[in-house]
């Protein structure tokens, strides 16, 4: 167990380093720097801006400042701080280049709960639709209900989330005004975006779960359970379900990453003030610090979720040996 976690941590560190370094190299090589593009700045202003964001430092020093954990800036970034620590290793994502006097940490802290709520609700939809649909399909294979569930799942798989979102808004917010078209703040604001975000994954979960359940239901050990006189519902719940959940759980890591990605678009459509919209705005406005910060946050989130998935895997299936897997 400890070796598994250690190995994971090592890979995690390597990935974070790769993200930071790639981003940094790209940032350094943007022609003209982030501020000088559109309009020519006055030389003194440009010098002040460059000094403020350390753009006048040599590359290695900027890199170390970005990476941390020591703050190489003797004045502190905003002049009023003189922190000893700074940079990514000190969990400091630096100042935003576009939002004046706001650090990336503050922006992330503001927006992450919003995105987390959206993501959790989307995951809920994915599991609800997936497990429900898969269960109905697998317990009554070949019936009209099964066919319906499978057609819906195929449709869900082939429609991208932004199209699902557009159609949902058209139907349930414009034609029949049940939900708000966009915005954030109440529960009804959450329903449409989280559904649009989660439904395609629900379609995939339904497929996985149906196949998994049909597979486990035909296993010898299910026959053994019936031979023991276990009641039908218990045969499904206790004997067939856990095995069928294994592929679903291993898909959750991928799904979580996909939901994070999808949130970029969904937050934009519904004008939700989440981390994803900050990221897109940051990327479009060349706020590299913000974009890199969010990328790092999402990398951490995906890693963390994958770790949880692997641990859940080991809990469900005693045959999984994490030491060997890692």
């Amino acid at each position: 167990m400890r070796r598994f976690l250690l190995r994971r941590a090592l890979w995690f560190a390597l990935t974070v380093w790769a993200v930071v370094t790639i981003s940094f190299v790209l940032m350094r090589n943007v022609p003209g720097g982030p501020f000088s593009a559109e309009r020519k700045l006055h030389p003194t202003v440009e010098a002040a801006v460059n000094a403020r964001y350390h753009l006048d430092w040599p590359a290695w020093r900027q890199y170390l400042q970005t990476l941390g954990p020591l703050n190489l800036d003797e004045h502190g970034v905003f002049g009023d701080r003189s922190d000893v620590f700074g940079g990514i290793l000190a969990l400091d994502l630096g100042p935003s280049l576009q939002h004046r006097d706001v650090s990336v940490n503050e922006l992330v802290a503001q927006s992450l709960p919003v995105s987390a709520a959206l993501g959790a609700a989307a995951l809920f939809w994915a599991l609800l639709l997936g497990i429900g649909g898969g269960l109905v399909s697998a317990l009554r294979p070949g019936t009209a209900l099964d066919t319906l569930a499978r057609v819906l799942s195929t449709l869900g798989l082939s429609l991208p989330n932004f199209i699902v979102a557009s159609l949902l808004v058209l139907a349930l917010a414009v034609a029949v005004p049940l939900f708000p078209v966009a915005g954030w703040g109440s529960f009804s604001h959450l329903v449409l975006p989280s559904f649009a975000l989660g439904a395609p994954f629900g379609a995939y979960v339904a497929r996985l779960f149906r196949a998994g359940l049909l597979e486990t239901l035909s296993q010898d050990y299910v026959r053994t359970a019936r031979a023991k006189g276990v009641p039908a519902h218990q045969v499904v719940l206790r004997h067939a379900l856990p095995g069928a959940l294994v592929p679903v759980i291993s898909f959750l890591g991928t799904a979580a990453a996909g939901i994070l990605t999808g949130s970029l678009v969904i937050e934009r459509i519904f004008t939700i003030p989440g981390t994803g919209s900050h990221f897109v705005a940051g990327a479009l406005n060349r706020d590299y610090a913000l974009a890199m910060g969010v990328t790092l946050v999402y990398t951490v989130a995906v890693y963390g979720l994958n770790l949880l998935v692997d641990l859940a895997y080991a809990v469900i299936d005693p045959r999984v040996d994490l030491e060997k897997e890692a």
Binding site: V181, A211, E215, F279, Y288
Partner: protein
């Protein structure tokens, strides 16, 4: 007791015959004939193929069709709703403005002008806020999606298959190194890096000069770079399991060379899974393109893609005025194409009998 001996000779003959029959049956041509037959008997696969074929044909020939130009604007204040083809079959307001076109398309557009002159189809699917014809934009937009799909297919067929087979056939250490590279690339949420990358390369130059690589080139490179990863992983897994399969061991024990084993055993058995994965990669790449275009990081105006159209459509939704045709058109086109690819992939998987539990 002479009887048992006689019987066992019988037994030998029968076994030999049975084995011979089995050996003769599932030859390679037999397998593919079987696959073709199973695909043909699948109605969903047939319709999917027809749709995809029609789409490819139309997107190749779209400059020839008497459509309005996708870039020609009419400064209306509002998007115009669809007009049924029988109400306004055509009008004569054709505006030959396309932005930049390559030589072939310029020639095709020239032909179109000779053939149809100022005639163009009516706004059968309506127009957008800038007065551009929706139908024409959807059809022109399909070219981007298909081009991206083609490019990704080529990348995963060349880079992905090569990377995977080399990793599968190479020594454990090389294999480990190659697959760890894929691991790291896959565990970075690539879309973020991609967006990051594109936004850098989109940055305007201080001297106004065009960058040394065009944004579209980068866009394609990026899509190529992410599309081969799962293919490499799948091919490597299949090659590894084939390497230790009983029939390969048998061939090796009879002194077959590595080249022969790869040609006769590994290649034919990797091919089905490569095909199936290709069918899975295409929709995801089309989605990827749409996703990036949706965020404004894809093709640049006056070029269009389905993602651009979907984004325009999503923006046009508001509770005050319903421009429903703007989101609906691209949604249907894209949904149908992705559905066709998905159904085809499923049918292929069924025909090749590659999924055991899934029915």
């Amino acid at each position: 007791m002479s009887e048992p001996a006689r019987k066992s000779e019988w037994f030998g003959d029968a076994t030999f015959e049975r084995v011979a029959a089995q050996l003769g049956e599932p030859s390679q041509s037999g397998l593919w004939a079987d696959v073709r037959r199973r695909l043909r008997s699948n109605a969903a696969a047939r319709w999917s193929l027809r749709w995809l074929f029609a789409l490819v044909l139309v997107s190749l020939l779209v400059p020839l069709l008497p459509l309005p130009s996708p870039a020609a604007m009419a400064l209306d204040k509002q998007p115009k709703p669809p007009v049924a083809p029988w109400v306004e079959p055509y009008n004569e307001r054709y505006e030959p403005y396309y932005g930049e076109l390559n030589a072939v398309d310029t020639a095709l557009v020239g032909l179109r002008r000779k053939a149809f002159g100022k005639k163009q189809t009516g706004p059968w699917l309506g127009t957008d806020a800038k007065g551009r014809d929706t139908l024409s934009r959807i059809l022109w937009g399909s070219r981007t999606s298909l081009l991206v799909a083609l490019f990704a297919a080529l990348t995963s067929l060349t880079v992905g298959v090569a990377w995977g087979s080399v990793a599968g056939l190479a020594s454990a250490r090389v294999d480990n190194l190659m697959m760890r590279t894929v691991d790291v690339l896959q565990s970075i949420p690539t879309i973020f890096l991609v967006i990051f990358l594109l936004s850098f390369l989109n940055a305007p130059r201080p001297d106004g000069s065009p960058s040394f690589v065009s944004r579209e080139t980068v866009f394609f490179l990026v899509i190529g770079a992410v599309s081969w990863l799962s293919m490499a992983r799948v091919v490597r897994g299949q090659v590894l399991s084939l390497r230790s399969a009983a029939f390969v061991e048998a061939a090796r024990s009879q002194g077959a060379s590595t080249g022969w084993i790869v040609r006769a055993h590994i290649f034919p058995n990797v091919l089905p899974i490569v095909l199936v994965y290709l069918a899975l990669t295409l929709p995801s790449v089309i989605l990827y393109e749409a996703f990036l275009s949706f965020l404004g990081l894809g093709v640049e105006s006056p070029k269009v893609s389905w993602g651009v159209l979907a984004a325009d459509g999503a923006e046009a939704i508001n509770p005050l005025a319903t421009f429903w045709w703007l989101p609906l058109g691209p949604a249907l086109a894209m949904g149908a194409t992705l559905l066709a690819l998905g159904l085809l992939g499923d049918a292929l998987r069924d025909a090749l009998d590659l999924r055991r539990g899934e029915r």
